[in-house]
């Protein structure tokens, strides 16, 4: 009963978010012990995730325009080239105008990790870690962890198999059990530790043979075919450098509890 009431509460909050003047919404997620596709010890250990708050929606073009207006050093014509590549916000009509190819309620894309991080700081937040993001994305409308349901995986895989030659939908998909929207099926999203996903601090200075060893251990998780969908996201994040931007890479922010 309590969950039911809570869910309606989030729905109402979510509707309120449609008005762009309101501040972004963050909802609490419990965290806890979580069986990630990337084992915490490169073997089988679950990840331990502290309670955190997550933005209910990805950052939109309108929100990012407000950010670059307040912080002009992040305009595409002023950003330092080490922080963003040549495609940064290139679909906007001008450095301070969205235009026809960037609707206000579309998720902002073609943003670098550096820019995403700066945005989150501007609203007293940070990028979520991979574990936080993966934990949140495991939910569906009814369950906090729907990963065992083929429908959950098929929804993700069907998004992967569509080319991105058409305009992105607007944010505002159906909320999941936590009240979070659009984690799967809209865009890729930056995470704070995107470039360290298969590397733990202890292993970083090991030589080739040991790399293969722990990478092999990481691969052991792939016996669960359900993990394919999530590992494709890991592969995408692994392909990027922090200044890179792509047509589909956006972000949302997180805060500590």
């Amino acid at each position: 009963m309590g969950t039911f009431v809570m869910r309606w509460a989030w729905l109402i909050v979510g509707l309120g978010a449609a008005a762009p003047s309101l501040a972004a919404n963050y909802v609490p997620l419990p965290g806890g012990s979580f069986a990630s596709v990337i084992a915490a010890d490169n073997k089988t250990a679950p990840a331990q995730i502290a309670p955190f708050r997550l933005r209910t929606e990805p950052v939109t073009n309108a929100e990012f325009l407000a950010f670059v207006t307040a912080h002009p050093e992040w305009r595409r014509d002023r950003v330092a080239s080490v922080f963003a590549d040549g495609q940064y916000l290139s679909h906007w009509a001008s450095p301070d105008t969205l235009g026809a190819d960037a609707l206000p309620r579309q998720p902002v894309t073609r943003v670098s990790w550096f820019a995403a991080q700066a945005f989150c700081q501007s609203e007293q937040a940070r990028l979520p870690t991979w574990y936080e993001w993966e934990f949140a994305a495991a939910a569906d409308a009814h369950r906090p962890d729907a990963r065992g349901d083929p429908a959950w995986r098929d929804r993700i895989l069907s998004w992967y198999t569509r080319p991105s030659n058409t305009a992105l939908p607007l944010v505002g998909g159906d909320p999941d059990v936590h009240g979070v929207r659009d984690l799967n099926g809209l865009i890729w999203e930056w995470v704070d530790d995107f470039n360290a996903l298969l590397v733990s601090g202890d292993n970083r200075d090991q030589d080739g043979a040991d790399k293969l060893r722990f990478c092999g251990a990481g691969a052991a998780n792939l016996r669960e075919k359900e993990n394919y969908a999530t590992l494709m996201r890991v592969a995408m994040l692994s392909a990027l450098k922090a200044a890179d931007t792509t047509n589909n890479m956006g972000f949302r922010c997180a805060r500590p509890k």
């Binding site: 992967y160 569509r162 590992l231 592969a235 692994s238 450098k241 047509n247």
Partner: protein
Amino acid sequence: MKLLTTILSFGCVLALAACSGKPAGDAATPAAAGQTQASASQASTTPGDFGPPQGEPIHAVLGVPPNVPPPINRNYPAKVIVDLEVIEKDMEISEGVTYTYWTFGGTTPGSFIRVRQGDTVEFHLKNSPTSKMPHNIDLHGVTGPGGGAASSFTAPGHESQFTFKALNPGIFVYHCATAPVGMHIGNGMYGLILIEPPEGLPKVDHEYYIMQGDFYTTGKYREKGHQPFDMDKAIDEHPTYVLFNGHEGSLTGDNALTAKVGESVRLFVGNGGPNLVSSFHVIGAIFDKVYYEGGKHAQENVQTTLIPAGGAMMAEFHVRVPGSYVLVDHSIFRAFNKGALGILKVDGPENKAIYSGKEVDAVYLGDRAEPNLQAVAVAAQAHATGTLSKDEQIAAGKQLFTGTCSVCHQANGEGLEGVFPPLAKSDFLAKLSKEDLIGIPLHGHTGKITVNGKDYDSVMPPMGQLTDDEVANILTFVLNSWGNPGGQISKEEVAKVRAAGPPAPAAGH
């Protein structure tokens, strides 16, 4: 074992991308430069290394399947620059069925690359900004970890560069090796690279490029509409389609390969997989030589040759007699029920001393013989604009009949006496109401009937995969052919009968 290999390669690719720190772009250039210097100094000790590249860098000419770039004809090692763009795009896998292909160069299989042994190949892999996925390339002709995969992991809208020396001659598969490898290959990310021996290959009249691949869609074979990739079928190795050059009809009809009597033909045939091994055969031809496994040695006088997934071969033969030679995977259900068919059309004078010429291949070719369905497209367009004429319906129906119906009822509508009833001058057909007539293709027909004085007692399965306008066009064609009474069936009339559902079994109530 296969699973283990997949898991390992999957893990290694992720690993190489993430573990080696960062990418491609940063690491490739200095590493490649060092490698070139090192190999140059070892020119005398490494077989296949003919020293540093000479002359101006050459931009490789890429072959669009089924075409092969021209022979090299060069007597020195050069620096060859290969530009290959990864493009994710929707294309037809069969008539009326679309699939999202991931391609090297916009085609499945990808562009054909041709270099000379000893060449230094500077490879530029570009991933289109419209791509959703990161991609890389593993060339089996590369000596080095991952075959280039680790050095070419490329995000959408980015480009990677790496350089290798082509040490071993042969015909080699290349493919994407990004996780999950099977899905990237299953979506069409494979092609061939030919590394010519220094003296080149013997001259032939025609060279063609063919690759087999298996495809896994959520819908059934030829189920209309857009069909997504099906991971479960792929893991179970139950393909929906097995195809040459990525699409049904890519080597038949107007797209058939051609040659003239007396000419020599060289086929470069690869198998992308991801799962199946090919029993490659050309019906009516014997290969003079097969360079099996793409290697140095040739077997002679070969009927059928095995091409492993991720492998290739080169076959040479002469065509002596005119006609249609059918390329198949001789695991034969794949050819006639999953699409693995191609045609080599040979023109020229008959040679009755070699072959009498009495060739019956109508049933063999089945519906892939003439997949020139422009008339179907014209009819569909006309219907959309409200200008569909009876003649357009008949033209479209004729081509669709060739596809679906002629295998049993025969192209001339005569059927086969006692087995498949005739449609030509059929008294049975003339007596049917419109609704009953439409019901036969939609719901099938079982049981005893008499047509033109002969009894038939067989089963026609429902052709539910046909759309309403296809059924309307086929029936309009049949009604206006072979002395039948004429008339016209509309898409709307078919929709009505379909909505009403199959008739209740007569004996049931």
